[in-house]
């Protein structure tokens, strides 16, 4: 045995799991080939999402764990409790805001409805004419790659990191590209998608574009998200864009986001970027005068029900999965780590894990 636990993938999910196992006194070997994943590409918005009860339970639980980490994180993690301002552009979206408010309220989450004038007062950069909004106070932002580094640095004596590409997994064993086999009591797959190592799992890449501006004197205070996003985020076909803007602590504005299933190349697609920016300028007209310094893309690992796979592989004893976090993996990383570690250590979980068990797709599995 090369360790108690081998984790494949050192993104925010692998790092949070490594941290969780190390806290229980287990020795972790963390393998990553540094090809770069969603953690370095994403937006790092910590947001309670409520498209279904399981997503709400996971993100709510995870936000409470983020608040425990917050005072410990270093400056590079750039945690800010900026809150989210959900924007309603019409009466339909206002109704969605009200439903959301009722749901979050029932969960004990701090939120309040804002009138059109209150929205404008909160964020004067927004165009006039929005009909209202919902402010969710517990949400925040981080710089996820630095959080992953910070998590690994907390337990240096228990976590060993090795630069290696894994070419095959088989239960509690992994094969490196060098041909060498490594084994542990438990192997955890945290590679985001599973196209190479477990192609039988139903995870599809969903491309997203982001763009960041130059630094300007601070103008935004909250993460801004249009409520039209609710319909865009989970549509299963085609390309959609929705307005999403984040004030970075540097004074930059990070702008998202697009969602597309049919593109597998990492190149920025100028037609998609143009649509995304046009949407952003619709909400923040003065963006048009600002200088953008970078645009890039990333891939979300999407499952059919938009929930991650957290638990034992349906048919490979010794192999555990922490995959498929779609557009919410930074938010849900601390909860994922707790749910995976507690399952492996046979301890009770703080929330019901049933909706996230990989077993739910076992019938869809194609034998090789």
């Amino acid at each position: 045995m090369n360790a108690d636990v081998i984790i494949v993938g050192a993104g925010i999910i692998g790092a949070a799991c490594a941290h969780g196992f190390a806290e229980r006194g287990l020795d972790v070997l963390l393998l990553d080939d540094q090809r770069g994943g969603a953690t370095a590409a994403g937006m790092g918005h910590l947001v309670v999402m409520d498209d279904n009860p399981a997503e709400l339970a996971l993100s709510h639980y995870s936000l409470s764990l983020w608040r425990q980490w917050a005072p410990l994180l270093d400056e590079g993690c750039a945690y800010r409790n900026c809150g989210t301002l959900w924007l309603a552009a019409n009466e339909d979206e206002l109704a969605v805001a009200e439903q959301k408010s009722t749901l979050l309220d029932a969960e004990g989450l701090g939120c309040r409805m804002l009138s059109a004038s209150a929205v404008h007062e909160a964020e004067p950069m927004l165009r006039p004419g929005l009909v209202g909004g919902l402010h969710v106070s517990g949400d925040g932002i981080v710089y996820a790659p630095n959080v992953a580094r910070w998590l690994l640095a907390q337990q240096p004596q228990r976590i060993r990191q090795q630069h290696a590409q894994v070419s095959e997994v088989s239960g509690n064993r992994v094969r490196l590209c060098s041909g060498e086999w490594l084994s542990a009591e438990v192997v955890v797959l945290a590679t985001g998608s599973a196209r190479e190592l477990c192609p039988e799992l139903p995870i599809r890449p969903k491309k997203g574009h982001l763009l960041i501006t130059d630094r300007y004197p601070t103008r935004l205070r909250h993460q801004l998200v249009e409520l039209g996003y609710v319909s865009s985020a989970h549509s299963s076909a085609g390309t959609s864009v929705a307005f999403n803007a984040q004030p970075r602590p540097t004074g930059q504005i990070l702008i998202g986001s697009s969602r597309q299933f049919d593109s597998l190349t990492p190149e920025v697609e100028h037609d998609v970027l143009a649509r995304m920016l046009q949407r952003a300028i619709d909400y923040l007209p003065s963006l048009a005068q600002m200088n953008a310094i970078r645009s890039w893309t990333g891939f979300r690992a999407a499952t059919p029900d938009s929930l991650p796979l957290l638990g034992p592989h349906p048919s490979q004893p010794g192999l555990w999965l922490a995959l498929g976090h779609e557009g919410l993996g930074v938010t849900t990383a601390p909860a994922t780590a707790q749910l995976v570690v507690n399952q492996v250590c046979k301890q009770p979980c703080a929330i019901d894990v049933t909706p996230y068990l990989p077993q739910r797709f076992a019938s869809a599995e194609q034998p090789a």
Partner: protein, 81 residues
């Protein structure tokens, strides 16, 4: 030189020949640096072709790329902070 263009860099008057880029003017006026990075170091034009974004300056109140902007008469260029 009668056809020289006059502009200001951080409030200082500079005369350049027509066709001079703002990036070149930064070198003529001082150490060539364009901006201060988030970590506090000074930065200067690097690629000269509009890709690296290191040459960002404020020209007449707007953020612009110095390497992609020709000097024009009366321009106010700020490379600080």
């Amino acid at each position: 030189m009668s056809s020289a263009i006059e502009l200001h860099i951080n409030g200082q008057l500079l005369r350049v020949t027509p066709g001079t880029s703002v990036a070149a003017a930064l070198y003529l006026a001082g150490d060539g640096s364009s901006r201060t990075a988030v970590g506090g170091q000074r930065r200067a034009p690097l690629c000269g072709m509009g890709i690296c974004q290191e040459c960002r300056v404020t020209i007449d109140g707007q953020r612009r790329l110095a390497c992609q902007t020709p000097c024009t008469a009366g321009m106010q260029v700020e490379s600080q902070p």
